[in-house]
């Protein structure tokens, strides 16, 4: 067991999860905005 690798994998864990959540939360916010802007038009009415 390599202690340095263990510590680095923990670093990878928090940085990785942070990056994923940041991407997903930004997408979440943008999707909400998008739905608010485009939400009034239904699929049928556009077609």
């Amino acid at each position: 067991m390599n202690t340095i690798n263990l510590m680095l994998s923990l670093g990878l864990m928090w940085k990785g999860m942070l990056a994923i959540f940041v991407v997903i939360i930004v997408v979440f916010l943008v999707v909400n905005l998008l739905l608010r802007v485009t939400g009034n038009k239904s699929e049928d009415s556009e077609q």
């Binding site: 067991m1 390599n2 340095i4 690798n5 263990l6 680095l8 994998s9 923990l10 670093g11 990878l12 864990m13 940085k15 990785g16 999860m17 990056a19 994923i20 959540f21 940041v22 991407v23 997903i24 939360i25 930004v26 997408v27 979440f28 943008v30 999707v31 909400n32 998008l34 739905l35 485009t38 939400g39 009034n40 038009k41 239904s42 699929e43 556009e46 077609q47």
Partner: protein, 382 residues
């Protein structure tokens, strides 16, 4: 007459074992219906590449020199040199996905993110088992529950275990209906599994469906640039589907392209199932760690949903969190089935499908994030 039996004397017990493994994969594909599109070519390829002096691999022939083998060439061109095969497959996958259930309830995106925790937990556990970080990260990505992502990440990181990782990723995806119920029941009570969720989908316009893949690509690209190839090709496929003017291309991507690449991907990956690489104790450990990745993913998704419930008035059935893994649509079906088991009027399918497609986005982002972070970490190690 020696030329007739010379090859037979070259057979090793490791090659024989690989034939048996190939046979088992073919059996599982045909008899059990486990990911047949991948496991059958993989199983047959495992037999092909382990025949002594197999013509599908490059061989040095006396008097002629090196003769190219088709599987080795496919591996070099389609995976090693460009990662083209897994990436092209993402166009087909993107074209197959309907993000409608997710867009009608965007909160489900968060479950996709939470369920990627298994990747990083498995990376940590892999380092405990003594794997170096390059291999640990490649093993962890089995937890993306996404075969092409696992192949791509392990190949880019130049892991020595691409074969076992691909086999584990696809096998456990097929075993989701067995693995997930056990993991879910370990962290939920029957009362929690019986929580009902109202389904009030928002109206999703065609414009939103068209803009969604473009925006996701830009956001992922700005925050995690290494994920652009993965996310971009997935979203490109989805844009073709949703734009409404490329129906024949969309159908081609969903059927012909996806089928063709899947057909070649399995047999190409079998290159990494040569006995010399595959028959090691580490392969067994990787299979165990892959299982752990799926269990960690499931539990993380469920626990995250429970955490959100602490602050939410409208409770989420925690099982929906488990559908945040990328195994589509198996995971959503598992949640629906368990929901009905706990309460025969508890219909969770649409919520679970939303979380499931969120998992597809989050898993490719996770793959890209790992590819972005690993070079810096490897540089630190010198």
């Amino acid at each position: 007459m020696e030329f007739l039996y010379q090859n037979i004397t070259e057979i090793t017990w490791q090659a024989l074992l690989m034939w048996v493994i190939g046979g088992i994969l073919i059996y599982l594909a045909i008899k059990k219906g486990m990911e047949p599109a991948l496991l059958l070519p993989l199983g047959f390829g495992a037999i092909l590449v382990n025949l002594p002096l197999s013509g599908v691999l490059n061989q040095m022939t006396e008097g002629i020199g090196e003769v190219n083998g088709i599987i080795q060439w496919l591996f070099h061109v389609g995976i090693e040199a460009s990662e083209a095969m897994p990436l092209l497959l993402f166009i087909g996958i993107g074209a197959m996905i309907d993000f409608g259930p997710l867009l009608s309830n965007p909160k489900l995106l968060l479950f996709g993110a939470a369920a990627q925790f298994g990747i990083f937990a498995t990376i940590f556990v892999s380092t405990l088992f003594g794997f170096d970080l390059r291999d640990a990260a490649s093993i962890g990505i089995i937890g993306a529950a996404d075969g092409p992502t696992s192949i791509l990440v392990s190949q880019v990181l130049k892991s020595s275990y691409v074969g076992p990782i691909a086999v584990a990723a696809y096998s456990y995806m097929a075993l989701v209906p067995i693995i997930q119920p056990i993991a879910i029941k370990l962290v939920t009570t029957k009362k929690e599994r019986a929580i009902r969720m109202a389904y009030n989908p928002k109206n999703v316009s065609k414009t939103a469906k068209i803009l969604f893949p473009i925006l996701v690509t830009v956001i992922a690209g700005l925050i995690a640039p290494a994920s652009v190839a993965l996310v971009g090709f997935l979203m490109f496929g989805n844009l073709i589907r949703e734009c409404g003017v490329l129906n024949s291309l969309s159908e081609t991507a969903q059927k012909e392209l996806a089928n063709l690449i899947t057909l070649l991907l399995g047999i190409t990956i079998s290159f990494s199932m040569r006995a010399s690489d595959f028959v090691t104790f580490n392969t067994f450990i990787i299979m165990v760690l892959g299982l752990c990745a799926f269990v960690f993913d499931t539990m993380a998704g469920v626990l995250f949903a429970k955490f959100l419930n602490l602050f939410s008035k409208n409770k989420v059935n925690p099982m929906v969190g488990a559908a945040g893994i990328s195994a589509f649509p198996m995971s959503a079906r598992v949640v629906q089935k368990l929901g009905l088991e706990a309460d025969n009027q508890n219909f969770l399918l649409m919520h679970a499908v939303g979380a499931n497609v969120a998992g597809q986005i989050a898993s490719v982002v996770a793959g890209g994030v790992i590819l972005g972070l690993m070079p810096k970490i490897l540089q630190m190690l010198g």
